[in-house]
Structures are given as C-alpha cells and as structure tokens.
Subunit: 169 residues, 2 copies
DNA sequence: TGATTATTGACACGGTGTCTCATCAAGTGG
DNA sequence: CCACTTGATGAGACACCGTGTCAATAATCA
C-alpha cells in the first residue's frame, strides 16, 4: 500500500491545544464523507474499504484490528485480514481514526477524534472519553530548552474506571 | 513465576511529582545492590538472573527483551528466552527497570529510573532522558471531576531528536 | 545433608502484524 | 462504452512477540 504523506510518524503529534478540557462528543463523520475524504487524498473508494468504514464508524469505544476482522467476517466473509489492517492504517493516516493504547498496552483504534486529542479510557469496559486539553506543551518547551532535543511529539493516555465500572461502596 | 505485590498495574502510576524538570543522571544501582534487593523481596539470586541484571545495567538507552536475549545468548547460550522475559518483568516490579514505549509504539525497558518518571526518547538513536516533572496531575484532577472516572494511572512519553541526531543545518 | 520449593530451559502455542504475489477492479482516457 | 493502467485485494506464509506448560534443576533453610 502507498500511504501518502504518512511515514512512520510517532503515535501522536502535538499540533495545537485548547486550554480547557472539553470532553467533546465524538464528531463521527458520515461514511460518505469518509469516502470522499479518501478520494480527495488520492485513494480509491472500494467495497472492502467502505465495509471497514461502516463497521468502524459505528463504534464508540476503542477497538482492535482483530475485532474489526472478526465482526466484518460475519457479513463479508471474503474480506482479507490484511485489507482490514491496511484500511485501518489508512483511516488513521487521514485522521478518521486515531491510535490509542489500552491500559494493558495493546494498541487499538478509536473513531471520530480528529486533531490533537488524548483519551481517558476505562480499563474495565473500555469506554473512552476524548479530551483536547494537553498539559504537555509547557513541559515540552522546558525539555526542549534543557536537553536540546528537538521535540517531535508525545504520547499521553489516561486510564481509570468509568462511573459504571467503579465498585459500589 | 510469582510476582509479589505486582499485579497487572498500568504502564505507569501517578504516585508523586516534582515541580521542576530535573533530568536526573540515571542512578544505576550496582549488580550487587540489585541482587540484594531481589533477596529482600523474597526472590532468589540465581546465575541467569545475575546475567540479565549485568547485561541490563550496562545499557543507557531503552532496549527490548529480545535485544537482551540476543546479546545474552552470545555469552550464555543456554539461557532461556522465557527466563529473560520473566526476569525483566521481575526487575520492573522492583523498580530497577521501567517500561517505556518507543516512538514506533514498541514496548521497551530502561534501567535506572526508579519512582515516577517519564522519558524523552530520541526516535532516531534511542537515547533517553528521564524526567520526573509530570504535568498530568492537574489534568487528572479536572478529568476526574468532570467525567466521574476514578483515575488509576497514565502513560506519557515524549519523542524527539537528540542533539546528535538532528540534521545539521 | 536432605527436603522444599522457587526457578529454569525447552518447547509449543496463540495473537499480531507484515509481506508477497497473482488476481481483480476502480478510475482514466480514448 | 471499452480497454488500459495501476492501485487494491485476498490468500497464505511468515516473523515476531509474549505466555503457558512441565519436567529437571538449583537455591535456600532446617
């Protein structure tokens, strides 16, 4: 696959921030919008890709590539595993998905959080809340000054238990 | 293996912070100190473990378990892969190592940064600088209040190019 | 020294992601 | 509308990673 304008970038790029947590309702784009987005980036809109997009946009919490494969195989048995992996990577490259890490360290994707976002993920049920307040910028300035590193990006995930999963006292 | 006082904790726990970046020189303990530490925790001091400890303490940058296996096999061919993995996990549990993530998302270990630390890792050569300034605490308070999540921990890594790896202008 | 038991090493296993390659089909221009 | 070009697909093999099992071994202690 050719991934245009996308090469080995770190998991997250610091590209802007807002000062207050905003816990946005995930702004999930429509399947048609995603299809058009792909075409605009020079990719083709194919049946397998549309199937992956449809599956993925319906999800409100982090999911793994294998989960998508398993779920998709039930309706589209002939779809290839590699295709799903490639499409997910593709969707991440155009900001329809973002990569997150579960608290067990396993990589996953989540839909509908374009831009610079981090996630608060429930380590029990997997429910996720996106937030764009990123407290790292000032730290990055200090580090950059003190270490002479040229900072490229950062990775921040917060883990906890959502209200539903907390043990009732 | 029995891992005492260590069960499935997230990659990083927020357990304290200092306000200023301190870029500590890594305080690498001696092999003897680590051996004693293990005994104090109720583990046995064995030849394979000492070999892993010796190998690991000599490293100044993040390394993967497989790297340790490969390197160790040259001098101690009979050492088992599982033993290395178990020993690394063990050393992380007693805070001799900490887990970090490379910018490609691959998990690794780094020696000599006990306590609550994060790392600035060069995405080219892998050189790492530890820092204990953790700007996440305030964010965690806000998130906790606004989302009613009970926050358990967080993961923060910063990536960049170290001075040696930056393209000379 | 002998008993106890943690630890080891070999191996197999499952999961994950990548790669290859022949085939297919989306988009293009004629 | 058709043929062509080339990106995309799917099947399968493959490598890698981390874990689990289990009999054999060795560290500790009485």
């Amino acid at each position: 696959m050719l991934l245009r304008d996308f090469e080995d970038r770190p998991l997250c790029y610091a590209s802007g921030m807002s000062q207050v947590p905003d816990h946005d309702a995930p702004s999930v784009p429509s399947p048609e919008h995603v299809a058009e987005l792909l075409v605009r980036h020079g990719y083709r809109s194919t049946a397998p890709r549309r199937a992956v997009v449809a599956d993925v946009l319906a999800r409100g919490r982090p999911f793994t590539a294998e989960e998508v494969v398993a779920n998709l195989r039930q309706r589209v048995p002939e779809i290839g595993r590699a295709t799903v992996y490639r499409t997910l990577e593709l969707l991440a490259s155009v900001d329809v998905l973002s990569r997150v890490l579960r608290s067990d360290g396993h990589p996953a994707y989540i839909a509908g959080t374009p831009g610079h976002r981090h996630h608060l993920v429930c380590s029990d049920c997997g429910a996720a809340v996106a937030f764009s307040a990123c407290p790292v910028d000032e730290l990055v300035r200090d580090l950059s000054r003190d270490t002479r590193f040229s900072i490229q990006g950062h990775l921040l995930e917060v883990f906890g238990l959502c209200p539903e999963c907390q043990p009732t006292v």
